[in-house]
Amino acid sequence: MDMLLEALASLMTFESIITVLVGVSAGLLIGSLPGLTATMALAVLLPFTFSMEPLQGLVALGAVYMGSIYGGAFTAILINTPGTPSSIATTFDGYPMARQGRAYEALAGATIASVIGGLVGVTFLLLLAPPLARWAVAFGPSEMFWVAMLGLTLVASLSSGSLLKGMIGGCIGMLLSTVGVSPVGWETRFTFGFPAMQGGIELIVALIGLFVIPELLSMAAEGRSNITESGEFGKAKVGIRQVARHILGKPVNIIRSCLIGQVIAIIPGAGGNVTSLVAYNEAKRFSKDPQSFGKGNIDGVVASESSNNVMVAGSMIPLLTLGIPGAPPDAIILGVLLMHGLRPGLDLFTESGVLTNGFILSMGMAALMLLPVGLLGARLIHKVVIKTPYHFMVPAIAMVTILGTFALRNSLLDVGIMMIMGIAGYFLRLIGIHAAPIVLGLILGGIAEQGYVQTMLAAVVDPIPWLRLVENPLSKVLAALVVLGAATAMLPAWLERSGRLDKGSPNRGDDS
């Protein structure tokens, strides 16, 4: 406790507060640009932290991390483009809301949800880090395989319309994930003889292409911007207080999303990309009005954004206690810790407890700071997006996407892949294969493959190797969850399909 107070005191300096403020703002800016991920934001910041004190450096990194994960929501809502992969699910309802002229409501909802999520994550980290850390190492190869399978059951709810088409999208995504060097075997696959293809198809490249380019193409074809139609700021209808009241009035949604965020954050390798999707799916499943999801239900935005901000502090649990990075950006934080001679482990919480607790508390401070910075930023960005004529908007967004894609790996080939996938994505959307299942397959393909092949390798001495997949208690539980999840997800789709026997029924709601 003393340590906590001491840490708090060390944070209450003008310098620290400014660091957090600048960090959150910079993170927000980087995170809101498609292609510039939280990992990149941290990598850019890294050299600057060398000249700082260890605590100051970590505070800056934590603030940037928090800001950039949140920043992804901005573009997700305003131009249907997840700024970071962790806000994919935010687009599902956030963008329809923006098209209905409710952008501000969505942004405010995302902000409040992010603040709550951030604070919840910090609380978990402060109070429950050691016990939760044990949970992290329980996930071995076979468990990871089932986690990926569990994720794939989301295809059913993500494929608006035909389930089969969703499945095809998911398979295509998984196959795209296998391009390049195989995770086990280290051989090149599907490169068609181009050395540059050894790098494979980066998730974020596909994500940007599949989400942004179709939107730009349809704006160009229609000759107008997709969101200026209502023109209004949207503030007139719903104020920040009402949004807050609405969110807090449905505590179950936010509590569930935060818990999901925390549980998944601890599983190494799943990371924030999956948390928001799972939280969104569960919010939809348990909602009284699941049909309204995907058409502008603020609960969907809240579920996605709260869970991915829990992940920021949540994924620090395995990192700080065991040195296991739970999400890609954590690898950089691990590097910084090592550089300052700090070894992950329980010592971090005792011997250098002031530093560690200071770092954790500063993330809480960053989460709080999201509120003013975020609401102000939301207003500004929203105004810019609304006021800009569409003939500037389209080329400007295109330029930013090109820059973001290029910056990811300094690769011009990635820019080409992004564009080609985007153009293909536009036409695939027309025939009913949507971007979300493809991206989901791309995220989970690698996890599933690695888990499966590693399990099979380890089982080489067993008489029936695949039994190894359900050998541990945890993998049994997960396998059961997969079956259950698939059943409950398929059932409504099945019923809907059989109810749709009379053809020509008006089932074309959201084609965006």
């Binding site: 990992t39 990149m40 941290l42 990598a43 890294l46 050299p47 060398f50 992290a136 190492v137 329980a138 996930f139 071995g140 190869p141 390049g180 060097v181 995770p183 086990v184 075997g185 280290w186 051989e187 090149t188 490169t191 003889g193 181009f194 050395p195 540059a196 050894q198 790098g199 494979g200 190494p268 390798g269 395995p318 065991l322 040195g323 296991i324 990075p325 890609p328 690898a331 950089i332 691990l334 590097g335 090592l338 550089m339 001679g341 070894r343 992950p344 482990g345 790996r409 300094n410 690769s411 690695q450 590693q454 390798l457 380890a458 080489v460 001495v461």
Partner: protein, 316 residues
């Protein structure tokens, strides 16, 4: 076929020398130097480059820009570098052994060759280490070898990547001890602590760094270096225990083929000096500082290629 390009290299360097002679060497360096890391930020290569960056800038008097070009285990950046980089001394790239040896042997489309560049120096190495969890039944290397002899393939060892330094030295252990183990590749060093703590594998073959990082939760059975590593004074080497296994990853930096010798010398000195200044920070992490330059570079590549090639080719 990959290693007989020396005539071509020679010709290229002659042309390059003729083209830029006279105006570069005297005042090198004059502009910013780009230093490409072919891996993701946060890894060992990146951490080292970040340490070096400010020191190099101070010594050379120009800015050094570290950027990342990950993909294909380094191959994407290396093939691009060998094809496009100008031999002016302003474009450098990080190189790793055994990656640059293994990939061209193993892949038909790696896109680069092991020696189609001027390797300036290898500045450090991370020896392999055989690490088991603290609660493992194996207390010594001998325990593990004996158990494996009685139970072929039952001992699972994790490591980073396939045909990586980890994997290759595990294969050497199999040959030396005449045992049959099962290697399970993970993507990078990141997931290995979890695999170890969660007992998903019996042990791991990874670098000494991880042994240092997890010191109080694991047992380091053997280290693949000539002498004991300063950061792990209690861990015996393979050699002490009768197995001739010395290997690991070497990290260095290369300039394009045909870069003038004067420039290479300037960079050699700069990296050596940088190495001396960051030793204090790197050694405790488990790195072994090296000063391998000039002919020694070729020697070590030839030596390791001879050690690894039969293993790599026999698995084709």
């Amino acid at each position: 076929m990959n290693f007989s390009k020396s005539t071509l290299v020679g010709a290229v360097s002659a042309i390059a020398l003729a083209g830029i002679a006279g105006n570069v060497q005297a005042d090198y360096p004059e502009e910013a130097i780009s230093y490409v890391i072919p891996f993701n930020p946060g890894g060992e290569s990146d951490i080292t480059a970040r340490f070096q960056e400010p020191v190099l800038e101070e010594i050379l008097g120009v800015s050094v820009n570290v950027s990342h070009r990950p993909g294909g285990g380094g191959a994407v950046a290396w093939s691009e570098f060998q094809n496009n980089a100008e031999p002016t001394g302003y474009e450098l790239i990080g190189v790793n052994i055994p990656h640059i040896i293994g990939q061209p042997i193993q892949r038909s489309d790696a896109g680069f060759e092991t020696d189609n560049w001027e390797i300036i120096t290898f500045f450090h190495s991370t020896p392999n280490a055989l690490i088991v969890p603290a609660n493992s039944p194996f207390d010594t290397l001998e325990d593990l070898v004996e158990y494996a002899r009685e139970n072929p393939q039952a001992v699972t060892l994790g490591g980073s990547g396939t045909y990586s330094a980890n994997h290759l030295d595990m294969l050497r252990l199999e040959r030396e001890a005449d045992i049959d183990l099962t290697y399970i590749p993970f993507s990078g060093t990141g997931p290995l602590p979890a695999a170890l703590e969660g007992n998903h594998v019996a042990g791991i073959f990874n670098y000494t760094m991880l042994g240092v990082q997890m010191e109080d939760r694991v047992k380091v059975l053997a280290v693949a270096s000539e002498e004991r590593v300063p950061a792990l004074p209690d861990a015996p080497t393979f050699k002490e225990q009768g197995y001739d296994i010395v290997g690991g990853a070497y990290r260095g930096v290369a300039a394009p083929a045909g870069t003038p010798d004067e420039i290479i010398t300037v960079l050699e000195d700069a990296f050596a000096e940088a190495n001396r200044r960051i030793t204090e920070k790197q050694e405790p992490l488990g790195f072994v500082m090296e000063y391998i330059t000039g002919d020694e570079v070729d020697e070590i590549i030839t030596q390791l290629r001879e050690a690894y090639a039969p293993i790599l080719e026999s698995t084709e």
